[in-house]
């Protein structure tokens, strides 16, 4: 009989199991010549170091400073990002949703872990975990406040976007107050990953 384990231990077991299975599949594919270790390493390197929220931050800062670009971004995020050389896997059809004084957006994937890779890189672990996926659709205001320390005023609607295999949503946050004189580079530095997921605000002007 297996001893009862607490939930976090179970999760760790489960992750170890998945890691072992991935490793086994990788070895078989390399053995059969379907994949090379160099290709695997290169892909991991790209998504660990080169593709990440710094790319999304570039897009957001551009949208904050260029109204015509912003209009194109909201019309078709994938083609607007491609103008800046940003595109790729898991972002063929991206939709940017704009925060306003009346509506705050937040993204989730209730089914698994769909996420806009080209602008945000790989999803954080909590994004892939059942607690976030379940609670964010049921009680987003509470999750934002209690788990992320992010208070959204009751007067602001919270709109939760459930991502799908084909459509990848992400948030265009509001430009922080007091940044009128900021350069695009200074603005980029204020844009956080969490603000593009919708679980946090951009950094405030220093």
């Amino acid at each position: 009989v297996r001893p009862a384990v607490s939930a976090p231990e179970k999760a760790t077991d489960h992750q170890a199991e998945i890691a072992a299975r991935v490793k086994a599949i990788e070895s078989i594919m390399i053995e059969k010549g379907l994949m090379t270790t160099e290709a695997v390493d290169r892909l991991a390197e790209i998504y660990e170091n080169e593709v990440g929220p710094q790319l999304g931050a570039k897009v957001v800062a551009r949208a904050w400073t260029d109204p015509e670009f912003k209009a194109r971004l909201l019309e078709n995020a994938s083609t607007a990002c491609a103008e800046l050389g940003i595109s790729g896997l898991q972002g063929e059809d991206m939709v940017a949703v704009e925060d306003t004084d009346d509506v705050h957006h937040v993204i989730v994937c209730t089914l698994c872990s769909c996420y806009p890779w080209p602008v945000l890189g790989l999803p954080p672990n909590w994004y892939k975990m059942p607690p976030y996926r379940a609670a964010m659709v049921k009680a987003p205001r509470k999750v934002l406040r209690e788990e992320f320390g992010y208070d959204v005023p009751e007067s602001v609607e919270i709109r939760v976007w459930d991502s799908s295999s084909e459509l990848r949503y992400w948030v265009l946050p509001q430009r922080p107050a007091g940044t009128e004189d900021f350069t695009v580079e200074q603005l980029e530095a204020l844009v956080t990953r969490d603000s593009m997921i919708g679980v946090g605000a951009p950094k405030a002007a220093a």
Partner: protein, 54 residues
Amino acid sequence: MIYPDTAGNDRGESPEHVYTVRFTTEEIWGAGEGEPNGSITFDVWEPYIVPASK
């Protein structure tokens, strides 16, 4: 757009129209259950939509 129900099961891409639909939290969870002033959007492939009544 690619229909995941077939594409994920080796039965081809069979593209279908996709609608992004929005419900208020009250519509989804019932009155008094959901948080006020919230909504949820879902992507719905054409075959998922059936008439609620005839």
